[in-house]
Every structure is written in structure tokens, then in C-alpha cells.
């Protein structure tokens, strides 16, 4: 196993997630695409951790922190989407033009 193959999977997943964040209209699917990007970052962190054979396992620890923060992000994100949906009867990000001049 080479390190590059894992990092390339990570960057491919990141690019896919980026495409989703830009093109999806539904706010829930935008959040799902963000999750794909975070998974890509985790793959990179754990792969580099295995490559360095770090006794402090810093890559794995930071992957765990990212998982915890992603869970918090999804919780808040879904709550915001629900509130917007309740007020505007829509969960599409391009219809949220309240702050557009």
C-alpha cells in the first residue's frame, strides 16, 4: 500500500463533495455534501497518521475531533433548515434571498 493511493481517494471525495455543495439546491443535501468533504479530510488524516506511525496517534485523535464537530454541525444545520422551512415553506438555498440587496 502506498500513501498516495489513500490521499488520492481523499482528494477525489473532497472534489465530489465540493461539487455537491455548489450544485445542490436542497439545503439538506448541501449538508450531506459537506459530510462527504469532512469524510475526505478524515481519510487524509488517518492515512498520514498510519504513514508516520505516530506514537501519539495525532491523526486519529484529530479525526475523532472532526467527527464530533461534524455531528454538532449537522445538528445545528438541520435545526436551522427546519426553522427556515417553517418560516418560508421551502428548503432550497437559492430561495433564501432575504439578505440580498
Amino acid at each position: 500500500m502506498t500513501i498516495a493511493q489513500f490521499l488520492i481517494v481523499g482528494s477525489a471525495l473532497f472534489a465530489i463533495g465540493l461539487y455537491g455543495v455548489i450544485t445542490r439546491r436542497n439545503a439538506v443535501l448541501v449538508l450531506a455534501s459537506v459530510e462527504v468533504m469532512l469524510a475526505a479530510v478524515n481519510v487524509n488524516l488517518v492515512a498520514l497518521d498510519a504513514y508516520l506511525v505516530d506514537p501519539a496517534a495525532a491523526g486519529q485523535i484529530f479525526a475523532l475531533f472532526i467527527i464530533a464537530l461534524a455531528a454538532a454541525e449537522v445538528g445545528i444545520g438541520i435545526a436551522i433548515v427546519l426553522m427556515i422551512f417553517r418560516n418560508r415553506r421551502s428548503a432550497n438555498v437559492d430561495e433564501l434571498d432575504l439578505m440580498r440587496h
Binding site: F14, T23, R24, N26, E35, L64, I78, A79, V81, A91
Partner: protein
């Protein structure tokens, strides 16, 4: 190292069996026109990353992904979809039209090409030592509660704040609340 050499290693076949469905699932998450299926493909992608973590010997991280992501986050997504999907919304309107998709695809391909080139250029064929043994949860725990104890406490505080914030945002504003 040639491709034939690369394919001679058994671990690389395991890697391919995991990585290809992971990427296909990720692609389906961002392209499929059925919102529930998109979230279910996210399960495939996350399970694939968990399997990659197992290949890399990061056992605790892998099971945390299974528990937190596939167990909890996916359920949140499904509940979010159930509540917000307006019955009038056509399935085709889940994504922006083509004039957004084409530049987004170009941008993604460019970013993938640049980062993949940088990785190959920097690491070439540097090998990951195949882990003899998985990193044990006890080792992870010792590190978290010694070197990373303050970040750990900060993360737990963030989770508490997110919990309270989520409740405060999502709960219905009762008009009679102030009078009561």
C-alpha cells in the same frame, strides 16, 4: 512502481474493493435526483471510509464513524428530509441547472487534479507500513486524556453548546409563552 507491481499486493485489492464503492457512493450523493437515495448513498460512502480506516489500522476511529455518522447523523438527515420535503417540489429541482453544474464540475476536476498531482509528486511510491495490529482504544484513550485533554474538553463544550443551540433554534415559538 508499475501498475502490475501494485496489483500484486493483496492489500491493494482490498483497497480497490473498498475505495471504488466509496467514490461511486460519493458521486451518487451529489448527483442522484432522489433525495432519500442520496442520503442512503451517503451511508455507502461513510461505511467505505470506515473500512479504509480499518485497513489503516485505525480501529477506534472506524467504529466511531459507524456509530456517530451511520448511527446518528444519517438518522438526523432522514428526519430533516421527512419534515422539509414539500410535497409540491419536483425531484428534478434538487440541483441547480446546468449553468451552475458545468463550472462546478470544472472547479472540482481542477482541484482534484492539483491536489492529486501534489500528493503523487510529494510522496511518489512511499509505502504505508501494513499495520501489525490495530491502534487499541486504550492507547487512544490514554493520549486523549493526557496530551489532548484540553481540546477534548473544548469539543465536549462545543457539543453541549450545539445541543442547547439546536433545541433553542428548532423549538416552536409559543405566542402565549410571555403571558404565561
Amino acid at each position: 512502481m508499475t501498475l502490475a507491481d501494485w496489483l500484486r499486493e493483496v492489500a491493494n485489492w482490498v483497497f480497490l474493493v473498498i475505495a471504488v464503492p466509496t467514490l461511486i457512493g460519493g458521486f451518487k450523493v451529489v448527483t442522484t435526483s432522489n433525495i432519500v437515495r442520496a442520503v442512503l448513498y451517503l451511508v455507502v460512502t461513510l461505511a467505505g471510509t470506515a473500512a479504509l480506516f480499518l485497513v489503516l489500522g485505525a480501529e477506534f476511529v472506524a467504529w466511531t464513524v459507524v456509530l456517530v455518522y451511520i448511527g446518528a447523523v444519517i438518522i438526523l438527515f432522514l428526519i430533516g428530509i421527512m419534515i422539509t420535503r414539500a410535497p409540491l417540489t419536483a425531484e428534478a429541482s434538487l440541483s441547480h441547472p446546468r449553468n451552475v453544474q458545468v463550472p462546478a464540475a470544472l472547479l472540482s476536476v481542477v482541484i482534484f487534479a492539483v491536489t492529486a498531482y501534489a500528493f503523487i509528486d510529494a510522496f511518489e511510491a512511499a509505502a504505508i507500513p501494513v499495520p501489525e495490529d490495530a491502534t487499541r482504544a486504550g492507547v487512544i484513550a490514554e493520549i486523549i486524556f493526557s496530551r489532548f485533554v484540553i481540546p477534548f474538553e473544548v469539543v465536549s463544550f462545543v457539543l453541549l453548546a450545539a445541543l442547547i443551540g439546536g433545541i433553542a433554534i428548532a423549538r416552536k415559538d409559543d405566542p402565549g409563552e410571555e403571558a404565561a
